[in-house]
């Protein structure tokens, strides 16, 4: 662990020298050719066949089949706080702190209240095993959790059902697109660490916007397509520290904050606030910062025109 951290630091130092250059170049590339990150998987590939029961009529979805297969394989371990999803568990309080403060401000809720989200209808898109949906429900929200992986939804239901505070969460195995078709609307639409796993981020954002009521809120978090992110989120987290299974993330699918703001804007969502997550290897905890170089989270509101 110690050694791993030292290596990360080394990588960071190397990056500090090159980072600006790389960032600039990739950003300029991407602005000329939006929509971006269109790494799609051939629907006839083996992996897709194996998991095509997950989502039979997925042609209309912005999801990637290979991505779904990855998550289905480790779905059992969602609630093992020392398992493959450990990084999400560790990061979760920090993500929720951001959501709490931005939504309380936007909806005029009392931040000193134990259940500030009472009366809010929130959808957690890509809810996985429900590690975000459950805290949102405890904070008083009426939560709908959706995930395209059937197994995730089963795990989420089973886990949430054992606590009366979270048993009211409505979990369903579906996609954002299908919720749009069903004409569902929510006060807040949250999609954390999801957009880097979808085939068409621009389409995905359009669906998120369509799910949001006028004047409603959106919260999206993802990983920056920076060299530092490559070094930390992929090389360090997947290969050195083994926090995440190898192949969890594909660097080319990441979005830079500028790109995210742009595609959200095209979906009539104005990003009002953005924050970065930084990891302190000494305390093992994440905190919010201005550094959006690797992990970042954005809060936006749906404009009314």
């Amino acid at each position: 662990m110690n050694l791993g951290w030292r290596m990360v630091r080394k990588l960071r130092i190397v990056n500090a020298r090159n980072g600006a250059f790389f960032n600039a170049r990739f950003f300029s590339d991407s602005t000329t050719q939006l929509p971006l990150a269109s790494v799609t998987v051939d629907p006839s590939s083996n992996a897709t066949k194996t998991y095509n029961n997950i989502n039979k009529n997925s042609t209309s979805s912005s999801l990637k089949h290979l991505e779904l297969a990855k998550f289905a394989a480790i779905a059992d371990t969602w609630w093992d706080s020392d398992g493959p999803f450990k990084p999400l568990h560790v990061m979760n309080p920090t993500r929720l702190a951001f959501i709490r403060s931005t939504l309380c401000r936007h909806f005029g809720k009392d931040p000193n209240c134990a259940k500030p989200f009472e009366g809010l209808n929130i959808v957690d898109v890509g809810c996985g095993g429900g590690i975000l949906s459950e805290p949102l429900a405890r904070m008083g929200a009426t939560v709908t959790g959706v995930d395209a992986v059937d197994k995730n939804i089963k795990i989420a239901r089973l886990h949430a059902g054992s606590d009366p505070e979270t048993s009211t969460i409505e979990y369903c195995c579906t996609t954002a697109e299908k919720l749009v078709e069903e004409q569902r609307r929510f006060d807040a639409v949250i999609a954390l660490e999801v957009i880097e796993h979808v085939a068409d981020p621009a389409e995905f954002c359009k669906s998120l916007a369509a799910l949001t009521v006028e004047g409603g809120a959106n919260v999206i978090s993802t990983i920056n397509r920076s060299m530092r992110a490559y070094a930390t989120a992929i090389v360090a987290a997947e290969y050195i520290l083994r926090w995440l299974p190898k192949g969890t993330h594909e660097w080319s699918s990441f979005l830079t904050p500028e790109e995210l703001v742009l595609i959200l804007q095209r979906s009539s969502i104005d990003v009002k606030e953005m924050a970065g997550f930084v990891y302190n290897p000494l305390t093992g905890r994440w905190s919010l910062s201005d550094d959006i170089g690797v992990n970042f989270i954005a809060f936006g509101t749906k404009n009314t025109h």
Binding site: A75, D76, T77, W79, D80, S81, D82, G83, H89, V90, N92, P93, L96, A97, R100, N112, C113, A114, K115, E134, P135, L136, A137, R138, M139, V146, D150, K151, I153, K154, I155, R157, L158, H159, G161, S162, D163, P164, S167, T168, I169, E170, Y171, C172, C173, T174, K178, E182, T283
Partner: protein, 515 residues
Amino acid sequence: MNRIVTKRFSVNVYGLSITRKNFCSNAASRVSSSSSGQSSNEHEVKQNFTDDGHQYDVAIVGGGVVGMALACSLAHLPLTKHLKVAIIDSNPALGKRNCINKEDPPDPRVSTVTPATISFFKDIGAWQYIQQHRHAYFDKMQVWDYTGLGYTRYNARDVNKEVLGCVVENKVLHSSLLSWIENTDFRKTIYPSKLTSMALLPSSSSMGVESTLSTTALFTKGRLAKLELSDGKSLYAKLVVGADGGKSRVRELAGFKTTGWNYSQNAVICTVEHTEENRCAWQRFLPAGPIALLPIGDRFSNIVWTMNLKESSDCKTMNEDEFVKIVNHALDYGYGSHPKSSSSGGRDMFSWLRGDVTISADECFEVPPQVIKLASDRMVFPLSLKHANDYVSKRVVLIGDAAHTVHPLAGQGVNLGFEDSHALSRVIAEGVAVGSDIGEVSLLRKYEAERKPANIAMMALLEVFQRAYSVDFGPLNILRAAAFNGAHYISPLKKSIISYASGEQKMPLPLPFFS
């Protein structure tokens, strides 16, 4: 329409909620139909689960001062005041209200509360109840030893404070917290019973979707700990707090290992009376251990005298007059002469260190007021040091003496316990703020990370004192005397000592030498 109906249904009958979310997609309805065979079993499990006991957010085992302080702190914080709390303690004092007779002489079981603890009480609003009872602030303190080589005097004005601390009877601390919480609308239930068993079955992490009933039951129970009590009752809680003292049952049942040893020393404690009011805290190191004389209000003082086992049994059995005589002897010329108040010499020796001189550096050595009579029974307690290697595990956390039993040398034990309560309630509030399950070990580790180093530092420091005084050896005596003189004359060191001992500075290390 269908959705609304099922939803309302699931809220009311919580046991059936798992499988009733079948509105959305085909996949979802497949799930509920496939698991509907299970649902009746799940229902049974949950029925048992809620019927044979009560469910709480927090169960505090041990309603002593530290446990009550946690309850009060939770009741005080806006984010935790909604929590449902159970307090388990067979002490009848928890059921009674305000049973303290002000005319009684003070109880020998007292605590020296630090300014940090006082502000904790003031913050929650319980200090007003303390003020209605006997309590004694002191603004001066004198520490010296039997060799007559050195002494240290502390004055609250050295650090621009009004007081160094306050001596309060434990029963006053306890009843104040109790009175305060009785006057709030906090949802607490007192179980006048003892903990007999605690069950926490692991939530099987690699649970398969097609799990059988037994794993489901195990899993379900992983969300709550079950406590069984000596009167046959049982209850469930998301978080169990062990505030049940040095012989903690929670610590034992949760399987926490401890490190520690007995000192083969006893503390003799009692209340004594003077002819006039004592306003200073006195501590003298004797060959067998320290003797402390603490003001407790009116003309009373409290004695905490550490000695070996043989001496302590003698002390308990000898007649009162004889005991008063040896107390006065121990606080005066016994075992050695008075230290010389060579105010100029000492100051010159350390004058190169820092220019500013504390007020107390000019104060001369004083002899404590004479004891005229014994005002309570003499009680004897064995001394030991014990520290739990871990303070937290899933759904279990230790606070106060259950986590750490320290030498009563500096009266720090209860203060460390209050700081634990304070820290734990803040961590729980942080968890509630972000919707965490408050029994999650990752959340509880924040509390451990905050309190463990601080508690260990204090324990280590007290241990050093203990060891330093267990040997009567010439060079060591001189070293100790040098330390006394250093603490007396070097003002940054002195300020740092006062600030650490009053609970404002968490660690003894960052001495302002480098500031």
